[in-house]
């Protein structure tokens, strides 16, 4: 039911996109959550056209303890990519990633958990980052790198792994772009099994950072968005 509704919604909303290319999301385990408006630290909606493209932004969605990347690619992403999720999770093998949103189809969002061994940003440090201008590990520009074991993800291609040990893409977050407001809304995600693993693996840390049970609470109707370098005290540039 969710999936059918999701495809319908996506097909309808994406038809209104500037490029006019019909885009369809589809995933067996896609989940809708309460829509959350992306805001700045003062609570005002962020303006999509003001987002920089030199580093990733962090927002939490759909849970208070789940960090996600928002990235301005500075160029249009690929569209309608057939991708495969975790090969070891039954019924979660394939999905269609529709591409970036925004006026230039340049804005993408993913759960910021490495799908290899679930490294993830916290307030102290982030071993994952968007290396806009490249790095020794990433090679060329515009890749998400995980310093822990050297996986490189391509955010313009649904964050599929292009090098290293991860076997499937970062989990996609669905964004909706409101062109009249120039605002962004997070509306759902796919691949929830990894979130369960993340909550289990990091439970002690998450309780310490957010409080017992708080990390599993929904973010509500808005979520604060800030630069990764503002969120994590240290972002190793591997």
């Amino acid at each position: 039911m969710d999936r059918r509704r999701f495809i319908k919604i996506c097909a309808g909303s994406t038809a209104a996109l500037a490029l006019g290319v019909p885009r369809v999301w589809a995933s067996e385990d896609y989940k809708e959550f309460e829509n959350a408006l992306l805001t700045d630290t003062s609570g005002s909606p962020i303006k999509a056209s003001n987002l920089g493209s030199e580093e990733a932004y962090i927002f939490h969605y759909p849970y208070k303890g789940l960090p996600c990347f928002l990235i301005n690619l500075g160029k249009a992403s690929a569209i309608n990519l057939p991708l495969a999720g975790d090969p070891l999770v039954e019924g979660n093998s394939t999905y269609n990633w529709p591409g970036g949103v925004g006026k230039g189809s340049n804005l993408v969002a993913y759960v910021a958990i490495c799908t290899h061994q679930i490294s993830s940003p916290n307030k102290d440090v982030s071993y994952m980052r968007y290396a806009a201008s490249g790095s020794k590990l990433a090679g060329g520009p515009g890749k998400i790198v995980c310093c822990a074991h050297g996986t490189i993800f391509d955010p313009a291609e649904g964050a599929k792994p292009v090098f290293g040990p991860a076997t499937y893409p970062l989990l996609p977050i669905r964004l909706e772009y409101n062109s009249s407001e120039d605002s962004l809304m997070a509306t759902g995600m796919a691949g929830h099994h990894l979130v369960d693993q993340y909550f289990k693996s990091y439970k002690r840390d998450l309780i310490k950072e957010f409080g017992p049970g708080v990390y599993r609470e929904g973010v509500g109707s808005s979520t604060t968005t800030l630069l990764l370098s503002q969120y994590s005290a240290s972002v190793p540039a591997c």
């Binding site: 440090v125 822990a148 074991h149 040990p165 240290s234 190793p236 591997c238």
Partner: protein, 450 residues
């Protein structure tokens, strides 16, 4: 092995008759307290009946834990039992970071075998393997016998003191206890940490063996960590690296830079200095050309496949392994001629780096091999990957790293060397220093969490 067991049993019965009292299960009972003899035939291990093809994994290090978890994921019908002689985990990987205080023991040891088993739907069985009957597919343990459909042996390494000229068993035992190598067990790590913390000056020797020893950069990394303590505490002393090899075996540019720029006058590296003997009492290490007095030391003897592999009759001929490793298929790891028994991790004869990341990535591949074979299928060979960081600075933390794969030559059925996409990152920096810690945390998560 069978003969030894029979002898043990006779001795035990004899002893029992002499003492005139026996206990059952460690607890004296009224009915048995005065029995003269008791029959102690072979017993089955106290495990539930297998619900599917039973996969027994011996050894809960990086290789065994990875295989147990991922074999179950790849083929959920597997009934997986992990047999491990330790009752508490503590990793060998990352242990060098203890010596400079970058990490504490909890970093290495706050990981439970029970949680790993619960999270990943297998059984942890605390026992020591003592025998193997491959015809009947039975593995014998200190806690009874276990039938298997597939057996994976991942027992790690043993030290080979004979290769450093120590053949006397008394000297070998003294050396093992007094100057441990620190590349196998947690108790060695704790001893070496105490040595470093109590070092008041003079010469601290770190030896580097020849051959494919565990953790190729490990001895050099450790020298850096000890040197950083000497530097920080302004101790009048140095670390003397006696290296059996003519050159640093891996990441040589990065290590030489660290020695010269961070630890000038504190680390002295002597190549082509294989240890040929040790006088434990007088604290003198002999090499081919020198006799070197020392104040304290970590003497890393050569490495061989675990003695368990030899005891179970699975050792390769010397033409295939000069380190007493297992006689297994190059690509699929089964004991040659037996598709039900596998040897993985650091007892393999391959020229792979004997390191955690190698065993972790190799383990995921072997899990696929086992899953395929349980279903009568075969899969293509995939190279393991060696992503390996070495901490060279402790204050601030700075590291260097390598990311290596391997090539297989089907004509020779041999691993021929590093793959073309192998990269080294030898400019030390803080980013890699921090990544070193997360590298380990990721592997812990991968082995212990669901």
């Amino acid at each position: 092995m069978e003969k030894e067991q029979d002898l043990s049993r006779r001795n035990f019965l004899k002893l029992s008759a002499l003492t005139g009292a026996l206990t059952v299960g460690g607890v004296a009972t009224p009915s048995s307290a005065f029995a003269k003899t008791v029959s102690i035939g072979k017993t089955k291990a106290a495990l539930p009946k297998a619900k599917g093809p039973r996969l027994v994994v011996v050894g809960a290090g990086t290789s065994g834990l990875t295989i147990a978890k991922y074999a179950k994921k790849e083929y959920p019908k597997f009934d997986v039992v992990v047999v491990e002689k330790r009752d508490m985990y503590s990793s060998c990987f990352s242990s060098n970071l203890l010596y400079s205080g970058i990490i504490n023991l909890e970093f290495l040891a706050d990981h439970s075998f029970l949680d790993a088993a619960k999270n990943n739907n297998y059984l942890y069985f605390n026992a020591t393997v003592t025998g193997l009957d491959r015809d009947k597919r039975v593995v014998v343990t200190s806690e009874g016998e276990i039938d298997y459909d597939f057996l994976v042996l991942a027992p790690g390494i043993s030290y080979d003191y004979e290769k450093i000229g120590v053949t006397d068993l008394g000297v070998m035992a003294a050396l093992r206890q007094t100057y441990p190598g620190g590349f196998i067990s947690p108790t060695e790590h704790i001893t070496i940490r105490r040595k470093v913390q109590e070092f008041e000056g003079g010469v601290f020797v770190q030896t580097v063996p020849s051959g494919n020893y565990r953790c190729l950069p490990g001895p050099y990394e450790r020298a850096c960590m000890i040197a950083s303590e000497i530097k920080k505490n302004k101790i009048k002393g140095k670390v003397l690296i006696l290296d059996a090899n003519p050159q640093i075996t891996i990441k040589q540019t990065g290590f030489h830079a660290a020695f010269d720029e961070l630890y000038k006058g504190i680390i002295e590296w002597k190549p082509t200095s294989a240890v040929t003997g040790v006088d434990v009492e007088k604290k003198i290490i002999h090499t081919e050309f020198d006799s070197i007095p020392f104040d304290d030391a970590a003497i890393y003897a050569n490495v061989r496949g675990s003695t368990l592999i030899e005891h179970l009759g699975l050792m390769a001929p010397s033409s295939k392994s000069n380190q007493k490793e297992a006689n297994i298929d190059t690509r699929f790891y089964n004991y040659v001629g037996d598709p039900h028994v596998y040897v993985t991790g650091d007892s393999r004869p391959h020229p792979y780096s004997k390191s955690a990341n190698t065993s972790n990535t190799e383990g995921k591949y072997i899990a696929k091999v086992l899953a395929a074979r349980a279903q009568g299928k075969e899969i293509e060979w995939v190279s393991p990957r060696t992503v390996c960081y070495s901490m060279v600075g402790a204050d601030p933390i700075e590291a260097i790293s390598v990311d290596a794969g391997y090539d297989y030559d089907p004509a020779k059925d041999l691993i021929t060397g590093f793959s073309k996409d192998t990269k080294t990152f030898e400019e030390r920096d803080g980013a890699k220093g921090k990544a070193t810690l997360e590298w380990a945390q990721g592997i812990y998560r991968d082995m212990f969490d669901s």
